[in-house]
């Protein structure tokens, strides 16, 4: 790997971690909240028991842990890469979740969502062709 490839490689690794931790966090939160069930009663007692149910759930803590790793990865990559480069790249999460849903969980994915997945992938590929940092003064 030469010196001109190094920033691109470390940016790609960090963005992959962002997408993995962000998607995992959302999935863990979703599993946790589905196990807890919908909140129908908004009384103080019901809210208090919901609070304890949420923060006593292992899936929620896995979600919080994933989201903390997401934030740490975001902070690291933003220390060198453009905000306008990183932000659209993180949208890959929107494409990864339907793909996982279809190919791993066997869910059916409607036509417009496949078009969306295609557009996001194309958009991220286009942004990925631009230099990660346009403000560095050498």
């Amino acid at each position: 790997m030469n010196s001109s490839q190094a920033p691109l490689v470390k940016t790609s690794i960090l963005i992959t971690l962002l997408v993995v931790f962000g998607s995992a966090g959302n999935i863990f939160f979703s599993v946790g909240m589905k196990r807890i069930g919908a909140l129908h009663d908004w009384s103080l007692t019901a809210l208090r028991s919901a609070f304890f149910a949420i923060f006593g759930n292992l899936w929620i803590w896995l979600g919080i842990f994933s989201m903390l790793l997401f934030l740490a990865s975001l902070m690291l990559v933003l220390s060198w890469a453009d905000f306008s480069y990183v932000l659209p790249a993180t949208a890959s999460m929107y494409a990864v979740v339907p793909l996982l849903g279809h190919f791993v969980l066997g869910e059916s994915v409607a036509g417009p969502r496949w078009v969306g997945v295609g557009l996001i992938s194309l958009g991220v590929a286009l942004v990925g062709r631009t230099p990660p940092n346009t403000t560095k003064k050498d």
Partner: protein
């Protein structure tokens, strides 16, 4: 009117929060080593930056305004509309952070924006 105003607050606080974090990280400088000690020290220094806390405050405001929007409007309107934050983010990167957005990057941002709206719409 209430929905429109809250949506504007959401759009600018969510993007503003991320941009404030980006600005704080740029002030700290590029992380060159990924040794655990270096990363922990970097994150520790980050949380001593005022811009980092401004970012967290704006993210909190964005989260609260999103919850308010979801309580007033259909999720099928709110979630796809949040895709606009990619365009606002690109404009912020260009005009506030001084980044150079080539036509290729603009095209990518536009495709991502439409794609996110379609994916969100399709699952509702």
């Amino acid at each position: 009117m209430r929905t429109a105003l809250t949506f504007v607050v959401f759009l600018f606080s969510s993007t503003g929060g991320d941009m404030a974090v980006a600005f704080a990280m740029k002030r700290l400088g590029e992380v060159k080593s990924f040794a655990p000690g270096v990363i922990i020290r970097f994150l520790g220094r980050a949380f001593r930056e005022v811009w980092m806390w401004l970012g967290i405050a704006q993210m909190t405001l964005a989260f609260c305004s999103l919850l308010a929007l979801l309580s007033w409007e259909a999720v099928s309107f709110v979630i796809p509309a949040t895709a606009l934050s990619y365009v606002v983010g690109a404009l912020g990167g260009r005009y506030l952070l001084g980044e150079r957005l080539t036509p290729e990057r603009w095209a990518g941002v536009g495709l991502v924006c439409v794609g996110v709206a379609l994916v969100s719409w399709g699952q509702l």
